[in-house]
């Protein structure tokens, strides 16, 4: 009887710790990433172009050196956020991530796309049209194909025409 009780307690405690740690990892990592990005001088509600990705400039895991990235930190605790980004000449996308690392929205910024903006509402659930839902802090990311320095500079300049602001 004691043996089975011991085994039962061991199994329950191991399963509980396994589940708790596993499910808290994405939120923990995203929160640390947000802190690291903020520490690099990226304020809330501002698009910031990251340097061209090299071994010396990389800040997140597995960056693509062929892409030009821009980041915006936002927080829907202060109200909905409206994100705009211009369409470019080559491949590009604007994506939105919630605090659990889920990619809740992707807009096409490639040549010919009609994307203009996405509204991020507080809450949860699947995106509908150009409305997505994020509860609290989130990250938006622009990726543009830029394998050369010249293409990177074109992509980085487009960041000036993008917005990421809290709205009514």
């Amino acid at each position: 009887m004691r043996f089975f009780l011991t085994l039962f307690v061991l199994a329950i405690s191991a399963a509980a710790a396994h589940f708790l740690v596993l499910t808290s990892l994405p939120g923990f990592i995203m929160s640390k990433a947000q802190e690291a990005i903020a520490a690099q001088g990226v304020p809330l509600n501002v698009w910031v172009a990251t340097p061209r990705q090299t071994p010396q400039t990389q800040r997140v895991v597995r960056p693509s050196p062929d892409l030009a990235y821009a980041l915006c930190r936002f927080d829907t605790s202060n109200g909905p956020v409206r994100i705009t980004a211009p369409v470019g000449d080559g491949y590009g996308s604007v994506s939105v991530f919630n605090s659990q690392t889920d990619n809740v929205f992707v807009g096409d910024l490639s040549a010919g796309s009609t994307f203009t903006s996405v509204r991020i509402e507080p809450g949860a659930g699947a995106a509908s049209g150009n409305t997505a839902f994020v509860d609290g802090p989130g990250l938006a990311l622009i990726r543009r194909l830029a394998p050369t320095q010249a293409e990177y500079e074109v992509a980085a300049a487009l960041v000036n025409d993008a917005t990421c602001e809290t709205v009514e």
Binding site: L5, Q53, T54, R62, P65, S95, T101, N103, P147
Partner: protein
């Protein structure tokens, strides 16, 4: 009293085992599993739930650790491989020839990462090979391309290569952006992934 003490110790042991196993299976340990492997084609592994709310807790944790800010499959899919065609671990002591063809996507790239999920710390500026290079280097045969992976540039200065210098035991990530719906519905029947042939290794290194 003896029973309570025993259960207390067992509970601590269970919590420790549970937490450590979560870190392992969640991909937090470099030797542990990387992103999902629900899909495997000739040694290239992927998982269509990456980036999605439907990802199970293991895939979600692994992606957070090894591929934070990964896109959902409708926008991009990611395949990883850390072995050559003979099943040997990819390492910077060997030279490889990677070859392939066209892929059912708008744009593709192959990038080399070290064991810490980073671009290897070198200054060779040869970090990846992508569709635009394949078209440029092989204008007449853009459907079939090849490049070398090595720690030093090939003797032919115009030959395409990716540097593995400081890569240690590395892996390759194949990114396919805006994949065709056929790839998403039938990956094994649609994708012929790149081949990785080992050419040679530094003497005494293996």
């Amino acid at each position: 009293m003896h029973l309570f003490f025993r259960l207390f110790v067992v509970t601590l042991l269970g919590l420790t085992l549970g937490a450590l196993s979560a870190l392992w299976f969640g991909g937090m340990v470099s030797a542990g599993p990387r992103i999902g492997s629900a899909i495997e084609i000739d040694g290239w592994r992927s998982d269509w739930s990456i980036g999605s709310e439907n990802a199970d807790p293991y895939v979600r944790a692994r992606v957070a650790r090894n591929g934070l800010l990964a896109l959902r499959k409708e926008e991009a899919v990611y395949f990883m491989r850390n072995e050559d065609d003979a099943g040997a671990r990819l390492t910077d002591v060997c030279t490889y020839r990677v070859s392939g063809g066209s892929y059912p996507a708008r744009w593709w790239s192959i990038t080399l990462y070290d064991g810490d999920n980073r671009l290897p710390m070198n200054t060779d500026q040869r970090l990846s090979f992508d569709q635009s290079q394949a078209t440029k280097v092989f204008p007449d045969t853009a459907q079939t391309w090849a490049f070398q992976i090595s720690t030093q540039a090939p003797e032919n200065p115009s030959a395409p290569w990716v540097s593995s210098k400081a890569g240690g035991e590395f892996d390759l990530t194949l990114r396919l952006y805006q994949p065709d719906s056929s790839l998403l519905s039938d990956p094994a029947g649609t994708l012929v992934p790149p081949r990785i042939e080992r050419l040679d290794c530094r003497e005494g290194a293996l």
